[in-house]
Point group: C3
Chain length 342, copies 3
């Protein structure tokens, strides 16, 4: 069960290069992406209407895509405009096309009712394309239902355990109460930690020593499963807990989007840009690797969790205090699904 | 759903060697093949009637096959003739045996009602064993339903696209109308192409240059999914389109048989003999490799198609003009299935 | 369908080492094992009650086990004793714990009604831990239902065929009638073979030559699928058939236990100790390897059989004379299952 009427991240812009085809399954639908000569991204149903050959095995001819089984040619609206050996082409000869918006290096797709596709509803992710922030775009596939990833991102108590040696570094994180606020289309979570260790991955990178004050302040948008987070740390007592950022504070804006591939798999797109040492390319690589290592920790846990759930799908989880945000978001998702089903 | 009352190719004769066992699944049934000392091929159900051990793990003892789990011995009719530790053997102790005919290097099997097995109904494939034709026997397994292979072979428009750089070489093939005639047990397809390129694989082999006239004239037999095709090319204007074959014409008789392994897999047996340069062994290898390369192109497309269909089994394909022959054969198959079901 | 109210072998004692976690699926339940500081073995449900993370990915903290997703801590009774970020802990926060008894180097587990767990019902396997017998503990996993392994062990006619070149060596084994007696909780099988070959694996090891008299005398216990067998061989005519063991006789006590992993897989634990040349470590290795080679022969046959059965689950096997013991034990199992279902 997926919310259909919303924008999802389908790809990084650099994944769809001129002259090539990208096949990706989103919400259970196989889609083929390419660029018109103008650069505009096209998204078509990845299945020829004739004998169901995948169009991603086809050939791009200018702005059109030819099925390389029997040669049917489709335009970028999905309309069949040539059938070898046949003069006339009936209107039923077409494949679905989907609205696409390229913004901030993300390629967003709308898989719901096309007349509801409103690009103004795309979450603001300008940090992905802002010269005062630098990071490295990343992608990973999880063999787990997207809700397990949503849960993970809405409960940072797991930083103390899953990420003990990477993003965490202190059991105080798990013990800390968070503030949850309603925002338009989602929730806002605020977490401050006073005078603790910096994340292990930051040791040797930070220009200061422990203890530090840390913060995680993030918006979660139900539509598209998007997280935008202000996070970082500064020498303890330099004002971070009151919202002031010391000159030497290390600040990041993490932008993540989860797009269901199927009920059992999820696409995970992220960038974690920093606003310091913008020209230090080695640091960009180091931080990107550190994030990947941490998200692999999540993946291992979530894929293990998925297997346990699959083995006993009827069992009920038990909710605890730290689940407050994920319970609230799961309710918002259920409500959106109910609206779409009605 | 498979037609049962017909002869299918089970193997090449050389696959069943003296003293060894061949296990192969045909129409969903696992069968074990071996040769009696006389050379006659035996086909038995590949499952001991006792504890269901596969007899293909057994041991050939003269003309008999011993199950190597508990030692039951079966004769070549499938009758159990020895049970270790037991004096008498009840009539229920047997496995099925199947009629087999070895002809033209193909081993044909009958998996339907045994009393209907009539060897005179086996399709004439003498080119497989004719000194005036030379080729190399080949086999391939496709992870796709046999109907997808039937479709493929009944619509040569795909030569222009799937086989653009091997068997095709011209978009004229796809644009050409074919003649379809009814024949006993199948259809006959005639395709002539005037003054086009020869197939790419033939360049450097043919003793003449483009343009050429080409032809594909083939019979399709529904029983056993057998194709027998006269194909080739000659210098343009030397009479091929009127049925005359120039001295230097390159002619082939392709003989193909498709035997369902299961609903999701198909055995593919073929020989594509030529009637020129009969002693040129290097050419035999070159041409066999060229055919294999082309049929791997089919396999990739068909296996991709099978995956798309499996993901959305309820969708309906849309028929176009080039599908005329495959539509007709699918109707013949459906009719045969209905007769057997009744 | 598994008998629940009985003791099963879960592991060898050496598989559960201090400070580490062992995950094993038994009767379809995933269990995590560890040792308390006292050395006592703990068996807990391998699934956190919170979000279903596997506890085998957790961390042992003294005698307690912490889930490394969100940090819940469980005691060795399965009770949750700490939830990060939460003061009080409801009684529903727990995972199942299972009775465990460590005896004779086997770790036995009770997965049925805990109040019926009576350690006095554990089969006597003292040969596993007896200074007058020496062997090497072994474990193997079979991709087959446990009943197929039960069948195998209750019909030694297969020694002549499956193990022709290892444990068998003579078709007389299969042709020999066995004596079957009822014992408490199972059956006793007695098989004597007069003046035949010794098992092939023994050639070069035995201090005497063929012919030999051989014997297999074993108890089969339905509860836990345990086999305890007196087996061996001695020079022909030296009294073995009358129960006298010559000085040079080679004697073994095979102790085997089959524990279902799932409907499709089985854990197989065994030791085959001898009572001669107790200090010959090279001989211990040689004999252990020989047993493994033989049981791999069983595994190949049983896994092949399982595939055949899975392909056609509705077919009925046909019983023959040598099946007498396995038929009787299958009835005892069915009866025990019916009692538990009632």
């Amino acid at each position: 069960m997926f919310i259909r009427n919303c924008w999802y991240v389908a790809a990084w812009d650099h994944e769809i290069t001129a002259g090539s085809l990208l096949a990706r399954t989103l919400l259970g639908k196989s889609i083929v992406f390419y660029r018109e000569s103008s650069g505009r991204v096209v998204a078509l149903e990845n299945r020829c209407c004739h004998r169901f050959a995948p169009l991603s095995r086809g050939r791009l001819e200018g702005d059109h895509l030819r099925c390389m089984y029997h040669g049917l040619l489709f335009d970028s609206q999905g309309k069949c405009i040539e059938i070898p050996g046949q003069e006339t082409i009936g209107p039923q000869m077409k494949v679905s096309s989907y609205p696409v918006v390229e913004r901030d290096h993300y390629v967003w797709i709308w898989l719901g009712d096309a007349d509801k596709a409103d690009a103004s509803k795309i979450v603001n992710c300008h940090w992905l394309d802002d010269p005062s922030w630098i990071g490295k775009p990343a992608y990973m596939s999880f063999a787990g239902n997207y809700l397990l990833l949503v849960d993970n991102l809405l409960d940072f108590s797991h930083l103390s355990y899953v990420h003990e040696n990477t993003l965490g570094g202190s059991s105080v994180i798990a013990a800390t109460r968070q503030k949850i606020e309603q925002i338009l289309g989602g929730i806002r979570i605020t977490r401050y930690y006073s005078s603790i260790s910096m994340p292990p991955f930051a040791r040797g990178i930070a220009p200061f020593e422990d203890p530090v004050d840390r913060w995680h302040i993030y918006n979660w948008y139900v539509a598209g499963n998007v997280l935008v987070m202000d996070s970082g740390w500064a020498p303890a007592g330099t004002g971070a807990l009151e919202g002031r950022r010391a000159q030497e504070a290390m600040q990041f804006t993490l932008v993540q989007a989860l797009t269901p591939e199927s009920e059992n798999a999820t696409h995970y797109f992220w960038l974690q840009p920093r606003n310091f040492k913008l020209d230090d390319k080695a640091l960009t690589e180091t931080l990107a690797t550190a994030a990947t290592v941490a998200f692999v920790e999540d993946r291992e846990m979530i894929e293990a969790q998925q297997k346990v759930i699959k083995a006993n799908p009827d069992n009920k989880m038990i909710t605890i205090t730290v689940d407050a945000a994920l319970v609230r978001v799961r309710r918002m998702i259920d409500k959106a699904l109910a609206v779409e089903a009605a």
